[in-house]
C-alpha cells in the first residue's frame, strides 16, 4: 500500500457519486482492489448481538437488526456468520438468504460439560441479510418457499420448543412493509403487532416471545463516532503517508492541506467539539449512522471546493499549493460540508443536521470584535493572536487582512467586497468554534456561535451531571420552570418555585390562560415535586410529580431546553423553531391537566364553584384572586 492508494481509498468514504465504501457488501471488494484494509471497528452492539447466538446463549432466539441505512446491519450479520464459523465463500455470494446449523444444549438452560451428542440439539439459523433484496418486489406475488419461511419465523417467535431461529437485517420501513404484505394468518398478525410494538415503543423484547430487536438507530452516535474516529486516524494508511518523506509541495509535505487537516483533526479540542455536535444531534432525536460519520471524517480531511467532486485527490495537492487556495481546504469549513455545493450539502443527512446549528452565521459582539478589530487592540489583541493569527493556513492570512481593511474603510458601494469579507468571517467564526479552548468558552460565549446558546450548558450541566448520577443545579431547574410557566399561562410570569397549571376555561391549549387550576410545588411537598433525570434510553427528562403515583414526563431534548431557557431569560424567541416547541409544550400542559384531574378524582375532591383568576404583578409574580359564587 502506498500513500496515494490509501488517500484514494479514503476518498471513497466521502461524498463522491459512487462511494463503494458505503456498503458492507462492496467494501470488501473495493478494499481488495486497492490493497488497503477497510476502516474497521467494533460496533458497540456487536457483543450483544453475537452473544445471542454463541455459547453465551443456551437457547437462542430470533434476532432482528433494524435501523437506518448505513447503521451497520449487514456488517453485524457478517460478524455473527463468522462467529458461528459460517463459510466465508458463501457469504461472498450474492444470495440475500443463507443458513447454517449450530448445536445448542438440549435442556435449553446450560451448556453441558461434555461433548456428548445426546445432550445437544441441532438448530437451523436462517440469515436474511437483506430483507428488501430477498422479499418480492412491490406488486409481485410471494414465492411459496419464502412465504413458508416467514410463516415459520412468525411461529418460531411464539413457540418455546422451536428448533430454528432467524437473524434478519432490514430497515424498519422494509420490515413493516414486508409483514404488511404477508397474508393475515394468525401467527402473522401476532408477529406483526409485536414488531410494531417493539419498534414504536423502543423495546428490545417482549415477555413470552422469542424475539430480540436491536434498533441500531437507537445507539449513541457519539460512542460510535469515537470508535470511527480512532479507527480512521489510527489506520495504517497514514503511516505510509509519512514514511515517504515528501517534498515541500508534495502530498503530505509541510504545506499539504490533507496533512494539515489530518493533524488538526487529531487535536483533542477539535475532537471534543465535533463530538459535542454529534451528541447534540442525538439529543435532538437526529440519529447519525456510521456511514454518515465516516463520510463526515473523510470529507473533513479531503474537502476542497475547487477540486473534482469538491474532494482532493493526491494529484491535486501540488496544483493547489501553487494556486494559493489552500485556505479553502479548511477542516473547519469541511466539517460542516462547506466545500460542497448547497444542494449537494443539503442532500447529505449529517450536513443537513449540522446546518441546523447555523455555525458561522450566528455570532456575538465579542467574537466579531476579536475578528474585525482584534489585531493590535489592547483588549482583544492577545486573543486575536492566539485564536486567529496562530493558524497560518486557516487563520488570518494576507487575503483576510486585505479584505478586513477594505471592509472597515470601505464606502457603501463596495458591496461585493464586503460580501467577500462577510464570507470570510463565516469561515473564521467556524474556525473559532473549534479553537476557543474550554477555559475561555464561557467568557467568549462559545455557543453563541450556534443557534443553541444553551447547548454547552445542556451538555455539561445537564447531561453529564445526570449521567454522573448527580443533581442538576437549582438555578437551571428554576429557569426551566419559569419557561414552562410563561408558556402555560401566556403571561410574562417570573414564578420558578411552582408550576402553574392554568386554562382559559374552555381550552387547555389556549394561548392565554388566566384561570388557575392549581400550583404544583417544585420542592417536594405532599408527593408533589419537579425533577430532572435520565430516562431508560438515556435521555434527559423533566418529570412533574403530582403525587407519589401520578406523574407526567417531558423529554428534555436540546430544542426544548433552548426554547424554555430563552423564554425564561428573554421572554420570546425568533420564530424559527418556536412554533413546534410551543405546540409540544402546550400538549404537555394538556397531559398535566389530565393527570391533575386524575388526582382530583382519586382524592374524591370536587371542582367547587369558585374561580382563581390569575394576574401578574409588576414584579412578574403570579397573583390569583379567588372569585366565589354563592349558590
Amino acid at each position: 500500500m502506498i500513500a496515494k492508494d490509501w488517500l484514494l481509498f479514503l476518498r471513497q468514504y466521502a461524498p463522491v457519486p459512487r462511494n463503494d465504501n458505503m456498503y458492507d457488501e462492496t467494501i470488501q471488494r473495493s478494499a481488495q482492489r486497492a490493497g488497503v484494509e477497510p476502516i474497521l471497528f467494533e460496533h458497540p452492539a456487536q457483543t450483544h448481538v453475537i452473544s445471542c447466538f454463541n455459547q453465551d446463549s443456551a437457547d437462542p432466539v430470533s434476532v432482528i437488526l433494524t435501523g437506518t441505512a448505513g447503521d451497520g446491519k449487514t456488517h453485524l450479520c457478517r460478524q455473527v456468520w463468522i462467529a458461528l464459523r459460517g463459510d466465508p465463500a458463501l457469504w461472498g455470494s450474492d444470495n440475500p438468504y443463507l443458513s447454517l446449523k449450530y448445536h445448542y444444549p438440549k435442556d435449553r438452560t446450560t451448556w453441558p460439560e461434555t461433548q456428548d451428542p445426546n445432550l445437544y440439539r441441532e438448530v437451523t439459523i436462517h440469515f436474511i441479510r437483506d430483507l428488501s433484496g430477498w422479499a418480492p418486489q412491490q406488486g409481485s406475488a410471494w414465492d411459496q418457499n419464502k412465504l413458508d419461511l416467514l410463516l415459520r419465523l412468525c411461529r418460531a417467535i411464539f413457540d418455546p420448543a422451536s428448533d430454528e431461529v432467524f437473524l434478519i437485517a432490514a430497515n424498519d420501513g422494509q420490515l413493516i412493509e414486508c409483514w404488511r404484505r404477508l397474508p393475515d394468518a394468525e401467527p402473522v398478525v401476532k408477529a406483526r403487532s409485536l414488531l410494531e410494538k417493539l419498534l414504536v415503543e423502543d423495546h428490545q423484547t417482549e415477555k413470552g416471545t422469542r424475539l430480540k430487536m436491536f434498533n441500531l438507530s437507537r445507539w449513541d452516535s457519539a460512542e460510535i463516532f469515537d470508535r470511527a474516529y480512532s479507527a480512521l486516524l489510527e489506520h495504517p494508511g497514514w503511516a505510509t503517508c509519512t514514511q515517504e518523506v515528501p517534498g515541500e509541495t508534495q502530498v503530505f509535505g509541510p504545506k499539504c492541506p490533507i496533512r494539515r487537516n489530518y493533524e488538526l483533526l487529531q487535536t483533542p479540542l477539535v475532537h471534543s467539539r465535533l463530538r459535542s455536535l454529534i451528541q447534540l444531534c442525538d439529543y435532538n432525536g437526529l440519529h447519525l449512522p456510521i456511514r454518515q460519520l465516516l463520510l463526515l471524517l473523510s470529507n473533513a480531511i479531503l474537502g476542497h471546493p475547487d477540486c473534482n467532486d469538491h474532494l482532493m485527490r493526491p494529484s491535486d495537492v501540488p496544483k493547489l499549493i501553487r494556486s494559493g487556495t489552500l485556505s479553502k481546504a479548511s477542516l473547519f469549513n469541511n466539517i460542516l460540508g462547506g466545500n460542497l455545493s448547497d444542494t449537494r450539502r443539503q442532500s447529505i443527512t449529517i450536513f443537513d443536521y449540522f446546518d441546523r446549528f447555523q455555525l458561522g452565521y450566528e455570532t456575538s459582539n465579542k467574537v466579531d470584535n476579536i475578528l474585525i478589530f482584534g489585531e493590535g487592540d489592547p483588549h482583544f489583541g492577545e486573543l486575536f493572536n492566539s485564536l486567529v493569527r496562530s493558524d497560518p493556513l486557516y487563520g488570518a492570512d494576507e487575503a483576510f487582512f486585505a479584505a478586513r481593511d477594505a471592509y472597515i474603510a470601505g464606502g457603501e458601494d463596495d458591496e461585493k467586497e464586503s460580501k467577500e469579507f462577510l464570507n470570510m468571517l463565516v469561515a473564521q467564526r467556524r474556525g473559532l468554534f473549534f479553537r476557543i479552548p474550554d477555559e475561555l468558552a464561557e467568557t467568549l460565549g462559545l455557543w453563541e456561535l450556534s443557534v443553541f446558546r444553551f447547548a454547552g450548558e445542556y451538555l455539561s450541566q445537564v447531561i453529564k451531571i445526570l449521567r454522573d448520577g448527580q443533581c442538576v443545579k437549582r438555578p437551571i431547574l428554576s429557569r426551566l420552570v419559569k419557561g414552562l410557566n410563561r408558556i402555560f399561562t401566556g403571561m410574562l410570569i417570573n414564578s420558578e418555585r411552582e408550576i402553574l397549571l392554568a386554562t382559559s376555561g374552555n381550552y387547555s391549549q389556549a394561548k392565554i390562560s388566566r384561570l388557575l387550576v392549581d400550583r404544583v410545588s417544585v420542592e417536594p411537598r405532599h408527593g408533589e415535586r419537579v425533577a430532572l433525570s435520565l430516562s431508560n434510553s438515556g435521555r434527559a427528562t423533566l418529570t412533574v410529580h403530582l403525587s407519589d403515583t401520578i406523574e407526567e414526563n417531558l423529554e428534555l431534548n436540546l430544542v426544548r431546553y433552548e426554547f424554555l431557557s430563552r423564554i425564561a431569560t428573554e421572554g420570546a424567541l425568533p420564530a424559527s423553531f418556536s412554533k413546534e416547541c410551543y405546540e409540544d409544550l402546550l400538549a404537555f400542559k394538556t397531559r398535566l391537566l389530565s393527570a391533575h384531574k386524575t388526582r382530583r378524582d382519586t382524592d374524591g375532591a370536587s371542582e367547587g364553584l369558585g374561580l382563581r383568576i390569575l394576574n401578574v404583578t409588576s414584579q412578574g409574580l403570579p397573583e390569583d384572586r379567588f372569585v366565589e359564587v354563592i349558590t
Binding site: 424498519d172 381550552y507 354563592i630
Partner: protein, 509 residues
C-alpha cells in the same frame, strides 16, 4: 346512488321561492353560518329533544322536526349588552354604589319588558367578583370579539344553560340571519345515522352535565323562572333517509368523544368535523346528481415554499369541485325537462299551463312567472333563476366552510386550493387513529374515507398521467410527515417508516 331514488317529498307550506337546492341537499345549507354557529344551532335542538326524551329520533316521521329554542335574554344582556359594566367597576369604588349604578344602566335591557337583575347581587360576594366572571365568560364566548350585534354573540357551550338561538337586533324575533338551519340539518343527519345510539350515549354525559361548574356559573347569571322565554322552531328538511355521510360523521364524532380529552378540548374537533362532513355531503351529493364519472378527489397541498405540481393539481381540483353544486342544479332541472311527463305535456294543447303545473309540483315554482308563455322560455327562466339563487349561498358552501375549517386556503399564493391547516389535520388524525398507524396506511385511509390525497400512492391511482409526478407527491407526503412530527403526532422510525400517533389514545388495551 340508491339514496337519490328515495328522495323525500317537499315540506308543505314552505316559505321558499323554489325547491331545488332544498330537494338536492336539504332546507338548508347556509354559507354564512360558521361551523361554530352550526354546532350551536344543533345543540339547541339536541338539548331540547334530550330533555323530552326524543333525542336523535324523528318520532313524527321524516322531516317533522320541531323544537323549542331558549332566548336567555338576561344572560345575553349582561354579557353582551352591558357596555358600562367595566366603566362602573373602575369609576366607582363603593360596592353598593357599583351595583346601583349598574342596575340603573340596565334599565333598558334589550328584549325584556321589565328588566329585573336583582337576583344577581346575592349570588356574588362583590361586584368585582361579578365583573370578573362576566369578563371570563366574554373572553371564552363565540363570536364575542366580532363587531356583530349583541344578539348574535354566544356563550361557549359549557352545558345546556349556555345554549340559545340567534335573535334580531331588538331581541324580539329570530330573523335567521346566522342560525339558518345548517345546524338543524346536522341534527337530522345524525338522527338518521345507524350509530346514533352510541353517539348519544357519549354526547350526553359530555354536554348534559348540569352540575359542571362552568354551566352552573352561567346559570347563576340567569333568573330562576318557571317560564323561560323562547320559541318553537320547525320546518327543517333533509331529503334522504340514508346517505353514507351520516354514518361517517357519527363515526368520527364517536371516535373523538371516546378519547376523553380534558375539559372542553374535544369541542373544536367536533365543530370542525361537522362542517367538514357537510362539505363532503354537499360535494358527494352534487356529483351523484350531476352524474360526474371521474372519481371524487381532493388533492391537498402541504404548503411548500415554491409552486409545485401538487399545488397546481389542487388548484384545478378545487375549481372543478367548486362548480359541482351548480352542475347539480342544472342537472336537476335538465332531468325535469327530460322527464316523460314534461316531454308529453309539451306536445299537448295548453302545453304551457301543463308544464307550469309540473314545475309547481316538482320545484314549487312558477306562480310569479310572467314572461313568454311557452315551455322553453318557462324552463329557461327557471334555470336562470335557480342558478342565480344558488350562486348567492349554496354555491359558496364549499368555499366558505372549507376556509372556516382550514381545508381551503390561499396561504402562500393568490388562488384558493386545498391546503389543510394544523387544526384540521389534527381533527382528522384524532378521529381516525385508535392508537397509532403507519403513515402510508393512514394516507390510504384518508383517501378511502374522505377522498383526500396527500401522497404518491393514492395520487398515482386516480390522477391522469399528465398530472401525476411521483416526486412532487412524495415531497408533499414528506412535508406532511414533518408537520405531523412537529405537532407531536408522528414518530419517525427511520428512512421511509413513520407512525402517526394519537396522543389522547388510552393506554389501556
Amino acid at each position: 346512488m340508491t339514496y337519490l331514488s328515495q328522495r323525500l317529498n317537499p315540506l308543505e307550506n314552505v316559505d321558499s321561492s323554489m325547491w331545488i337546492d332544498e330537494a338536492i341537499w336539504g332546507h338548508m345549507l347556509y354559507d354564512e353560518q360558521t361551523p361554530w354557529l352550526i354546532y350551536l344551532e344543533f345543540l339547541n335542538v339536541l338539548f331540547d329533544h334530550h330533555s323530552r326524551g326524543i333525542a336523535f329520533t324523528e318520532p313524527q316521521g321524516f322531516n317533522k322536526l320541531k323544537y323549542w329554542a331558549a332566548w336567555r335574554l338576561e344572560l345575553r344582556n349582561i354579557l353582551y349588552n352591558s357596555p358600562r359594566l367595566f366603566q362602573i367597576r373602575v369609576g366607582t369604588t363603593n360596592d353598593q354604589a357599583r351595583w346601583r349604578e349598574w342596575h340603573k344602566s340596565m334599565s333598558r335591557a334589550g328584549g325584556i319588558d321589565q328588566p329585573d337583575f336583582s337576583y344577581l347581587q346575592p349570588r356574588f360576594h362583590s361586584f368585582d367578583d361579578f365583573a370578573d366572571v362576566v369578563e371570563l365568560l366574554r373572553s371564552t364566548g363565540i363570536e364575542a370579539t366580532t363587531n356583530k350585534r349583541w344578539t348574535s354573540k354566544y356563550v361557549f357551550p359549557y352545558g345546556k344553560d349556555c345554549v340559545f338561538e340567534d335573535l334580531d337586533q331588538n331581541a324580539r324575533t329570530n330573523d335567521r340571519h346566522f342560525f339558518r338551519r345548517s345546524g338543524e340539518l346536522l341534527y337530522l343527519m345524525l338522527c338518521r345515522s345507524s350509530l346514533k345510539e352510541e353517539l348519544l350515549s357519549l354526547l350526553v354525559p359530555a354536554l348534559q352535565d348540569e352540575s359542571a361548574p362552568w354551566n352552573k356559573l352561567v346559570r347563576l347569571l340567569q333568573p330562576e323562572t318557571a317560564n323561560p322565554k323562547g320559541a318553537e322552531r320547525a320546518n327543517a328538511f333533509l331529503p334522504y333517509p340514508f346517505h353514507p355521510t351520516y354514518d361517517a360523521l357519527a363515526q368520527d364524532w364517536i371516535a373523538i368523544l371516546k378519547l376523553h380529552m380534558p375539559g372542553y378540548d374535544a369541542l373544536p374537533h367536533l365543530v370542525n368535523l361537522a362542517a367538514f362532513h357537510l362539505v363532503q355531503y354537499q360535494l358527494r351529493v352534487a356529483r351523484d346528481v350531476a352524474g360526474v364519472p371521474t372519481p371524487f378527489r381532493i388533492v391537498c397541498e402541504l404548503v411548500a415554499p415554491k409552486k409545485t405540481l401538487v399545488r397546481e393539481v389542487s388548484w384545478d381540483l378545487y375549481q372543478e369541485n367548486n362548480l359541482l353544486s351548480t352542475q347539480a342544479i342544472t342537472a336537476y332541472i335538465d332531468a325535469v325537462e327530460q322527464s316523460d311527463e314534461w316531454q308529453y305535456a309539451k306536445t299537448q294543447p295548453g302545453a304551457f299551463v301543463r308544464c307550469r303545473n309540473i314545475l309547481r309540483t316538482k320545484v314549487l315554482w312558477g306562480d310569479d312567472y310572467e314572461a313568454a308563455s311557452n315551455p322553453e322560455d318557462l324552463i329557461n327562466t327557471l334555470r336562470f333563476a335557480a342558478k342565480q339563487r344558488h350562486k348567492q349561498h349554496g354555491a359558496e358552501i364549499h368555499r366558505n366552510y372549507g376556509r372556516e375549517i382550514g381545508l381551503v386556503s390561499k396561504r402562500g399564493t393568490l388562488k384558493l386550493r386545498y391546503a389543510p391547516n394544523d387544526d384540521l389535520l389534527k381533527s382528522l388524525l384524532l378521529a381516525n387513529l385508535p392508537v397509532r398507524m403507519e403513515l402510508h396506511q393512514f394516507l390510504a385511509l384518508l383517501w378511502d374515507r374522505y377522498a383526500l390525497i396527500f401522497g404518491d400512492r393514492e395520487a398515482e391511482v386516480v390522477l391522469p398521467k399528465a398530472e401525476f409526478d411521483k416526486k412532487s407527491f412524495q415531497a408533499n407526503a414528506r412535508r406532511l410527515e414533518y408537520r405531523l412530527a412537529s405537532l407531536g403526532l408522528l414518530k419517525r422510525l427511520s428512512d421511509g417508516c413513520a407512525y402517526v400517533l394519537n396522543p389522547y389514545a388510552r393506554k389501556d388495551k
